[in-house]
Subunit: 410 residues, 4 copies
C-alpha cells in the first residue's frame, strides 16, 4: 500500500445511505474499509458484504460484538439500574460505544487516518460515535457526510440518493421506506422520526417488532427466577430450563419478555443537543433484568449506599451513556463506586411476567444480614428496644421543633 | 373543666389496640378526646364513635380529611413524581402529616397538653406522627404507649389486650386477626407484617383489596385523557364522562385503575430506623396520575430543569415524606423549586390501561415551545444547520480527547 | 431611516479590537449603534464616545448599570454563596448577563436585527453574551467577528489591526499592550492570557490593581459588622461610618477589602468549552460579604436546609452563572429554593480584616431559634435528656451493625 | 482469669472525669483495662498510666496511633478535600474512628465484652465512638456513663466528681478548669463549650494554642512546594529542607503553618443531633495541604470528574466523617470513586504562607494533558477552530431560545 493513500473505515449498514457514502468517499479519493457490527440486529450479512465490495470497498469487516456488548456495557448498566429520564433503558446508547471502539481498533490495524459514519446531523448517535472515537483515538479524523455541506447540499433528498445509486450501480432493494426509522440490537429496538414525530399520535400497532402486543400474550403468567452474584445475573430458572452463562441468560430473558409483551415504552425525551425527540422503544429482557436487580437491592443493600448510588451513580451514568461519553474517567469513577455497592447484591428474585407486567413474587439472599426477619418483625421485638425509638424521635425532632414551622402549615 | 385535669387527644381507630390504650390512658388519669381521621379508609364510623364513648372518651371527633389530603400532600407529591426507593408511591406517608395536623389542631382547640397514638415501636408511622406533632407544636407532650415499658411490659401479647378488654368491657368484634396489617386511605392500601415478613414468599392472592387481579381485569383496554395545568390535573376524560374537579378526577382515576388491576407492588424497603421492611402496596389512581404527569413533563420541561428537579426535588421530597419530615423548611424549599419547574407543564396525555399496564398513547401541549416538530424532525432541517453539531462535537470532545482514556478501554 | 438598512448594536469598549470591528461592520454595510456598559470599570467614557462617533457609529449609548448589577446578580449570588470550583467568586460571570440584557433592550428600542461583540473565540465570555442574547430574544442575529473566518483570517495578528486602524483613521492610544488581559467591574478584576498562561509562574506583583498587597496593608486589624435581613446585607458598621443602602454597603465593603489586601486568588479553572484556563482574580468586597453571609447561615439555618442548599443551589447556580445560562428557568427554580432558605438569615456578623485575612469575631441573631444557648450547652442539660442519645445511637447503629464492615476495616 | 469476670476497655484520658468513671466501673464490678490513644495531643503519658493503675486499672494500654491516623483518615480526607459546612476541616472527626478501632482491637485481644468512654451526652464524639464500635464489633456492649441516670444523677456537678475523687484517693492536679474544653491531635485543636457558647463573643486571644496570632507571625512570606502523586503528598520542599516521608511531610506542614498563623476558624456548626454548636478550631498543616491539593486538581482533573467528586464524594464523605459513620460501605464506595479521580493528580504546587494567608504561587504537572498551554492560549489558536464555538453556542442555545424566558427577565 503506498504511503500516500488516504484510508478510512466506514461504519456500513448495507442500506442506501451508507452505500452512497461509500461511493462518495471513493469519489473523494479515499480507500474505504467497510465495517459492519453485529450487535444483534436482523441483517443479511453476506448480501451486505457483496454490496459493499461491489460499490468498491477495499475490504469488509463483519464483527460479531454481541457477547462483548453484553459484558461491557449492558451488564454494567443493569448493575446500576441505568435509566434516562426515568423511562428509557438506553438500548441504543449502550451499543454505540461498543461499535465505535471496534471501528477504532480496525482503523488502527488497517492504518486508517479517518473513520466515517452515516448518522444524520440532528441526532444523538453522531455524538455518541464521535465522542467515543475521539476519546479512544484523539487524533482520528472523522468524516460525517451528513454534516458536510458539500455532501448534504448535493444529496438534499432521497431522490438525489436514488439517482446517485443508479449512477454508481448500487442495487436498491428497499423501494419503499418505512415511515419511521429503526435501530435494533440485542437489547432493544427503537422507532423514531417520520410519522412518529407527531407526539400526540399513538404509533401504529404493527410498528413493534420484538415483542407481542400484551393483548396477544399468553393468558397465563410465566414464572422465572433470576439469581445474582455481586449484582450480576448468574443463573436463570424458567420453564425452558436453567441457564448459567450470562449471555444465554440475557437471551433467554429476551425470549421470555418478547412472548409476554414486556418492555414497550413511548416517550418524548431530551436529546444531548437540547432538541426534544419522540421515541418508541421495546427493551424486553433488560426490563425484566432491571426489575429483578432493583428488587434484590431492596433486600440486600444498605440504605445510604443505595441512596448515594441512586442519586449519584444511576443518574449520572445514565446521562453519560445517553450523551455518548462512556469512554471517560467519569464512567470509571462511577463504576468503581457501583462495584462497592454491589458486593452484597447476592440472591434470587422470583418473578412472574404476564401481558406486559413484570411482578416480583419473592426474593431471598443468604448473605443479606440487613434484612433480619426477627429484627424487622412488627410482631416481635427481636432484640429491638422500643424506648430507643423514643430517644431517636426526640433527637430527630430537635431541628424541627426549633424551626418555627407551625406558622407556615397550620 | 377544672384546670388540673390533664387532657389528651388520642388518634383512635376503633380497634382493639387503641381501645385498650384509651382505657389505659383514663386509668392513668387522663381525660381523653378520641379523634378519628377519615382519609378514605373503609370504616364503620358510628360504631367506632359509640365504642369510644363506651370506653370513656370525653368526646369523639370524626374528621373528614379526604379533600384536604388530596390538595395538601397528594397533589404536591404527584407534581414532583414523588417515589421512595424507585418503587413506593408513599401512600401512607402522604396521609400521616394530614392526620397529625388535625390532631394538633384539636389539641389546641380542646386545651390538651398531650396527644397519643397506637403505633408500634418499630415502624415508620410513630416517627411520622410525632415529628409532625413536634414541628407544629414544639411543646406538645406525646404519649406512645407501645414504647412505654409500663405499657408494653403489661400488654406483652394479644391475650393480655383481650383480657384487659374483657375487664374493661370493651367489645371485641374481630375475633381472629388477619395474618398481616393493613393501612388504607384514598391513595392506597398497604399490607405488611405477619406472614408477609418472609420476603421470599409471594403474598396470598386474596390479600389485595383495592384492585382486581390483572388476570381478572377486562380484556379490552380502557382509554382516558388527563389534562394538566401547571402540573396539576385539571380535567379527566374517560368512558364514564368528563371530570374537572380535582378531587373527582382523583377518585375517578382510582376507579379506572382499580378495575384494571393497576398499581400493585411488592418490595423490601429501608425504614427510617435503618431496619428493612417488606411491604405490599396497591396505589391505583396515583399510579396512573404519575405516569401521565411524567410523560407530559417529557414533552414540556426544559432538560436541565428536569434533571435538577429529578435529582434534587423528587429524590429529597420523597425521602422527607417517607421519614415524616413534611412540615419542615426543606419541604417548602423543594416545593418552591418544583413550582417553577411546573409552569410549563400544561397539556393533555392520552393513556390506555389494560390488565395492570398503563401505556401512554400520545400527548399534546399548546404551550410547549421546546418540542418544535420541525426543529425536532429527523426528516427536515427546520432551521437547524448540521454544521453546528460539528462545532458542538469538537468542543464537547476536548475534555475527552485530552483525558488519555484509550489506555483504560482499548 | 429606510427599512432596508441593517442595524446592529455593538458592545463597544473603546479599545483597538472593537474600534476595528466597528469600522469593519460599517464596511460590511451595517449601521452600528455602539453601546458601552458601565459596570464599574475604570474608563474614559467621553473619549470613547468621541472615538466611536469618529469611526462612524450612528449613536453611542453609555449605560450606568452598576446598581442594577448589584441588585440583579451580585446580591442573588452572594445570597447563595456562589462559587465556581470552590475558589472563583464569578465576578465576570455576574456582569455578563446584565450587560447583554441592556444590549438586547437597546436592540429592541433601536430596531436592530443584530448584536455584535469583540470576544475572542476561545473564551467563556462569548458564550455568556450569546446565550443571554438568545434566551432574551431568540431571533436576534449575533455577529461574532472573531469567529468569522472572513474577519479572523484578515486580522490574524495585532499588526493587521493596527494597520487597519491607521487606514481607517482610528486613534490608537495604547502603543504597548499589557502582557495579559483584564476585565474589571464593581465586583472584581480578572487577569488572564499572555504571560499568565504558564500556570507554573506566579503573576508579577504589580499586576494587581484593586487591592494592596497584604504585606503593604495596615498593621492593625480593621473591624466591621455586617447586618443581614433574609440573607441580604442591610447595614454595615465600620470605622468610616454606618451604611444602610445596599449599593453603598457594597462599595464600602470594597473599600475596606481593597485597603486590607482581601480577595486575591490564582487558579486554573475549567472553561465551559472543556479547555482549562489560568486566571488571577481579585474580588475584594464580595469576599468579605460571602464570609459574613456564610457565617450567619451557620447560626441561623436548619441543617438539612443548608445541606440541600449547598449541594443543590450553590453548586448548580454557580455552574449556571459560569456557563452563561443565567436567563433560564433553572435559575428561577434555584433562586426560588434559595429564597426559602434565607427567611431566617437575619442578624449581624462581626468581622476583622487584616492583611488579606477575613476573620469572624462573633455573630448574633434575634430570630435564630435553632441556636438555643441552653440547649446547645455542653455544661447544662437545658431540657435535653442524655438518654435520648442512647436511643438515637442504637437506631443509627442498626444499619452499620448489620453491614458486616468489620472485615473491611479491622 | 475466671470466666465470670466482666471486662471492659475504658478510653482513658487521665483527667478527672475518666478517672472517676474508672473508679465507678470498678465499683460496679468491672475489671477495667485503660486505654490511651496518642493521636498527637500533649500529654504526660507516664503520669496518666500511674494514675490509672493507682485507681485500680487492671492494665493500661498507651498506643501511638499517629502514623496510622495520618495514613488511614487524614490523607484520604485530604485527597477528597473533606470539609464540613464549607468551613470545618474535621480534625476531631478524623481521629475518632482511629481511636475507636484500636479500642475494639484491645477489647478483642483482652476478651472484654464492653467498652466505655467519658463523652458527654450532647456531643458528637459519643456518636462517633459508638457508631465505630458497633460497626466493627456489632455485639460489643457500650457503657456511656454520662448517659446513664445512675451515673449522671449521682455526679450532677464538678463538686460531686471532686468529692468522689477525694473519696477514692484519685489525685486531682488541675484545680481550676479552663473556661472551655479542648481536643487536640496531630491535625488540629478544637475549643468549645464554656464561655465560647455565646457565639456573639470573639474567643480570648490567648485561647489558641497551636498557631501564633497572624499579627505575631513573621513579616516575610515563607515559600514551600508540595508534590503530589495520585493525590497524595509525596515531597515537600521548604526552607527547613526536603521531606519525602508522608508523616514527616505532614508534621513539617504543621510546623510551617503554626509559625505563620495559618488555620484558625470560628464557626457555628450543626451537630449530628440537630443541635447547633459553636466551635473554634485551628488546623494548621491540613489547611495548607488542602489548598495545595485543590489547586493541583484545578490543573489536572477533568471538569466533570471534578464536578461529580465535589458534589458527591467531598460533600458526602465530609458528612459521614462528621457523623461518625466512617466504617461503613458508603465510605468505601466514596473512596473508590475518589481514587479514580486522583489518578491524574500528579505534580507540584508552589505556595507562600504569610500571616494567616496561604497563597498559590504556581503549579506544574508533567502528566496533565488537559492543560495544554497552546490549546488554552487566548493568544494563539493552538489547533482550535473558532467556528467550532459558533456551532457549540447554537446547540447550547436551543433549549434556552425555546424556553420563552424573556418575559421573566426583561
Amino acid at each position: 500500500m503506498p504511503e500516500d493513500v488516504k484510508r478510512c473505515v466506514l461504519a456500513y449498514s448495507g442500506g442506501l445511505d451508507t452505500s452512497c457514502i461509500l461511493a462518495w468517499l471513493i469519489e473523494e479519493g479515499w480507500e474505504v474499509i467497510c465495517y459492519m457490527a453485529n450487535v444483534g440486529q436482523e441483517e443479511d450479512w453476506e448480501t451486505a458484504r457483496q454490496k459493499a465490495m461491489g460499490v468498491g470497498a477495499k475490504k469488509v469487516y463483519i464483527e460479531d460484538l454481541r457477547d462483548e456488548f453484553i459484558h461491557d456495557t449492558v451488564l454494567p448498566a443493569a448493575k446500576c439500574n441505568a435509566i434516562y429520564e426515568n423511562v428509557y433503558l438506553l438500548g441504543t446508547s449502550l451499543a454505540r460505544p461498543i461499535i465505535a471502539r471496534r471501528q477504532i481498533q480496525i482503523a488502527e490495524k488497517e492504518n486508517c487516518i479517518a473513520v466515517s459514519h452515516g448518522c444524520t446531523g440532528k441526532g444523538n448517535d453522531q455524538v455518541r460515535f464521535e465522542l467515543a472515537y475521539y476519546a479512544l483515538k484523539p487524533d482520528i479524523q472523522v468524516i460525517a457526510p451528513w454534516r458536510l455541506p458539500v455532501f448534504f447540499d448535493r444529496f438534499a433528498g432521497r431522490t438525489d440518493l436514488l439517482n446517485y445509486a443508479a449512477e454508481k450501480g448500487i442495487p436498491v432493494t428497499q423501494t419503499t421506506k418505512k415511515p419511521w426509522s429503526m435501530d435494533e440490537n440485542i437489547v432493544h429496538c427503537s422507532y423514531e422520526a417520520g410519522i412518529l414525530e407527531d407526539p400526540s399520535l399513538a404509533p401504529p400497532t404493527d410498528m413493534w417488532t420484538l415483542t407481542v402486543d400484551p393483548k396477544d400474550a399468553p393468558d397465563e403468567e410465566e414464572e422465572l427466577a433470576v439469581y445474582f452474584e455481586k449484582g450480576n445475573p448468574c443463573k436463570l430458572e424458567c420453564k425452558d430450563g436453567e441457564f448459567t452463562d450470562v449471555v444465554k441468560i440475557f437471551h433467554q430473558l429476551n425470549t421470555i419478555a418478547r412472548r409476554n409483551g414486556v418492555g414497550r415504552i413511548d416517550i418524548v425525551e431530551n436529546r444531548f443537543s437540547g432538541l426534544k425527540s419522540r421515541g418508541c422503544y421495546e427493551t424486553p429482557g433488560l426490563t425484566i433484568l432491571r426489575s429483578a436487580h432493583m428488587d434484590l437491592e431492596g433486600l440486600t443493600m444498605e440504605r445510604e449506599v443505595r441512596a448515594l448510588r441512586d442519586q449519584f451513580v444511576t443518574f449520572n451514568l445514565s446521562k453519560i451513556l445517553y450523551n455518548g461519553q462512556y469512554f471517560s474517567p467519569c464512567t470509571r469513577m462511577l463504576l468503581a463506586a457501583n462495584d462497592v455497592s454491589q458486593e452484597v447484591v447476592n440472591g434470587v428474585v422470583k418473578l412472574a411476567v404476564y401481558k406486559g407486567n413484570v411482578s416480583v413474587r419473592g426474593r431471598k439472599s443468604d448473605t443479606a444480614r440487613l434484612y433480619d426477619e426477627k429484627l424487622a418483625s412488627m410482631d416481635e421485638l427481636g432484640g429491638f428496644d422500643p424506648t430507643w425509638t423514643s430517644g431517636f424521635i426526640q433527637i430527630e425532632s430537635i431541628r424541627l421543633r426549633n424551626s418555627d414551622e407551625g406558622k407556615h402549615w397550620l
